[in-house]
């Protein structure tokens, strides 16, 4: 494979689409260009400096909730809406400008794996903070640490109701008559760790729900900052629990943590994560040997996500078919912004573009997150929508962005004669640019 084609794969399959000059930079050493991005830790980009923390936003929710329902509705419809727009714009700006696009793709991958959705209004104010605080610091760290950070973040505790779940035999359960809510426990097993075929049953769901009772948020107890994670011993179900045949009887917060760490090390988790990783970086239907190798790396390194990210770069199958993956709308928009070096001034316009293309960040319909295959995103309406959007975008962007130069800087290594000709013979710079953006090569990665 020509080195230029390898650079295309590095920049698109692993990266987020070429910024001006990026294809050339990657072409000197495509593997090395990717591996260098995995060094060190994720810095918090400047674009995030003004954003509010998850606990601070949670505090404002509690304060409104302490007053009345009207205040909560006002908070959701005004302040949380603003926060949501700013978060989406800041995240998109980072993705559109980053010189470490592989690292940013990993953030998006893990954020989708551990989906929290703004379809639940309280999450609209917290989803961005969740990604910044629970996902980003761990994308080249340990899976178990990410799992625990996620399970204790206000966004997840509120999204999957664990703040409401109370051990029926705990002090709080005895006093109030309230009980378990299985939502969080089930999704930890099904979506975050083992996967639905991972070998657990309904009893395990209930046992894990008991194990994590009391994983909650401080609201007004003395000595704790409101809105931060807090273990509530008075809501924790007492007694021995048995999860996947293992007994937990140490009690308190430690037993839930031990259970989650065991789930992170479970062989089913390695296979589940490896399959999703391979689907994202190799093909919708990834080859079994590659999945097995990635699972082995995950297992052998005790869930070292840097090692996993390096291993998938080493998979030959990830490089063999440069256009194997169809871009999601998020991938598509980010790659357009990177290619053209254009960024909307207003957060509202960024969210608007995602809406037009059919995928607003942090709004997946379910805790399973967005689908990662062409069948979900290349439906008839979606394809026509991208064409319409591309033309509307090109009307604003051309003639400042010349289509042929832009084609050379983005898809040249894989551009077919047909695509080159269509762009070259377009009747206007606008149409040429729109044809580039809607071309089969630009729609894929």
């Amino acid at each position: 494979m020509a080195i230029e084609t390898k650079a295309f794969v590095a920049v698109n399959r692993f990266g987020l689409g070429a910024r001006p000059g990026e294809l050339k930079r990657a072409a000197s050493d495509p593997h090395g260009w990717l591996e260098a991005q995995l060094e060190g830790r994720s810095a918090q980009p400047d674009a995030f400096a003004a954003l509010e923390s998850g606990p601070a936003t949670t505090r404002s929710f509690f304060a409104a909730d302490d007053r009345n329902a009207k205040e909560v509705i006002k908070l959701f419809s005004e302040r949380f809406r603003d926060i949501f727009m700013q978060e989406v714009a800041a995240r998109t700006r980072v993705m559109a400008t980053s010189a470490q696009p592989y690292r940013e793709r990993l953030v998006a991958f893990w954020s989708n794996h551990f989906t929290v959705s703004a379809k639940r209004p309280v999450v609209a104010g917290l989803a961005g903070a969740f990604e910044r605080e629970a996902i980003r610091p761990h994308v080249t760290g340990r899976f178990a640490d990410m799992l625990l950070a996620v399970a204790r973040h206000p966004a997840m505790l509120l999204f999957l109701d664990n703040v409401l779940s109370i051990g029926p035999n705990s002090m709080a359960g005895q006093r109030t008559g309230k009980g378990l809510n299985e939502n969080h426990a089930r999704e930890i097993l099904e979506l975050h760790t083992l996967g639905v075929k991972g070998g657990y049953d309904q009893r395990d769901v209930v046992e894990l729900a008991k194990l994590i009772t009391g994983w909650s948020l401080s609201r007004r107890e003395p000595g704790a900052t409101p809105g931060t994670y807090k273990f509530h011993g008075f809501a924790h179900e007492p007694g021995t629990k048995t999860l996947l045949g293992v007994r937990y009887d140490q009690g308190g917060e430690a037993e839930g943590e031990a259970a989650l760490r065991a789930l992170a090390r479970h062989p089913s988790t390695a296979i589940f994560i490896a399959t999703k990783f391979a689907r994202h970086f190799i093909a919708d239907d990834p080859p079994a040997p590659a999945v097995e190798r990635l699972a082995r790396v995950f297992r052998d390194t005790d869930g070292d996500l840097r090692a996993l990210a390096a291993a998938v770069v080493d998979e030959p199958a990830a490089w063999q078919a440069p256009l194997a993956k169809f871009k999601t709308p998020q991938d598509f928009l980010v790659s357009v912004l990177r290619a053209t070096d254009i960024f909307p001034a207003e957060p509202r316009a960024v969210v608007g573009s995602f809406e037009e293309l059919g995928q607003v960040p942090f709004t997946a319909l379910s805790p399973a997150g967005w689908d990662d295959n062409a069948a979900a995103w290349a439906g008839p309406e979606a394809v026509l929508r991208r064409a319409e959007w591309s033309l509307a975008f090109a009307r604003r962007a051309a003639p400042a962005r010349q289509p042929i130069a832009l084609m050379e800087a983005t898809i040249a290594p894989v551009a077919s004669a047909r695509t080159r000709e269509a762009i070259a013979q377009a009747p206007s710079a606008q149409q040429g640019l729109a044809l580039l953006l809607a071309s089969p090569e630009f729609l894929r990665r």
Binding site: K119, L160, D161, L164, S165, I166, P168, G173, K178, G179, L180, N181, E182, N183, R186, E190, V196, Q202, V205, F326, V351, G352, E355, E356, G358, L365, S366, A368, A374, A375, A376, W377, A378, G379, P380, E381, A382, V383, L384, R385, A387, E388, W389, L391, A392, R418, T419, A422, A426, P427, Q431, A434, L435, A438, S439, P440, L443
Partner: protein, 413 residues
Amino acid sequence: MTTNRPANVRSRRAVLKAALATGALSALPRVGAAAPDPLAGRRLVLVFLRGGLDGLALAPAYGDPAYAAARRHLALPPPGSGEGALELDATFALHPALHALHPWYGAGELALLHAVASPHRGRSHFEAQDLVENGTPQPYGAADGWLNRALGAVDAPGRRLGLALGHSVPLLLRGPTPVMTWAPSHFPRVDTEFLARLADLYEGDALLAPALADALKGQALADEVMGGDARGMGGRGGLRNLQAFKTASKAAGELMAAPDGPRVAVLELSGWDSHANQGTTQGQIAALLGGVGDGLASLKAALGPAWRSTAVLVITEFGRMVAPNGTGGTDHGTAGAALLAGGAVKGGRVIADWPGLGPAQLFEGRDLRPTLELRPVFKALLRDHLKIAEAAIETRTFPESRDLRPLEGLFRA
């Protein structure tokens, strides 16, 4: 078709027709030519409520002696009381938010199916939805949907009988048989020349070429049927959940009423995963059910006389636990309820082999016990309503399910 449309609408239609007539797109059949109806005018709408609708909220078994004790604070007030459930018979009622549909029951156009479930027993949204849609006995047992496979058995050259409302095609309708899609858009129509160039650019692309062709077909029909309404219904940024459902229901009705329109549509509404504070006569589920009632009423109105030959099946992936959980909601369960509506339906009755709500009667001690599978209902829709040959249903549409006979007697004719 009305004739006094604003000029700009007519010109946009003209543009699209021109687009369809350009060389690259000429393989698409033109809209408007009358042809014999491959399904003799019969129509089917599947409404998939994603997230696991609480069947006992949709249709409380208020006459079951164990109902009040089992449902505790989630029990709905019985028929006849203030804000009470709407009586169907001595045992079952409808949620009061479904007041728009209740008269249909009296008119014989609505049946309730209860204690119904897919073959899935694992309480996973994603496996259960997949199973409802792929039509095999295994989750992920097929990459296409049973409704698409069923449409493949209908001889309708050049027609796209299936219609998905939304940006993507649900698994139910995915597969080798081409279907159309419709979703509101606020974009101005892209010009003919650009479309022709794009179609040329996509030629030979197995993913993009058919997708673009399908989209243009859907757009042309929507213009033909809905005129200026077809665009801009979404407003900037599309529609929110319930409003979007109503808009999609109306659009489905209008498109399906057209002589050359689609005949089988899938509508979806999510938001039913009621783990916390689901409410009773008011609240989360009540609001969503009200939206379902509104949407189906819009669908019926838009179908006009075609309602007489229409069947609508409202389903979900699983029911929920009978007892409330610790947080005013219900966790994932097994059997739930479904609605069958339409002029073609032999309604006014409850179809259930009721397992009861007593503690010993529950499935695994917690869920409504399934006594009716969804596939016999699906098979009846295909065989007895759409008149699809049974051989095709048994071999292609629902493989490995011969022992599940179609449910008899659901339809008038």
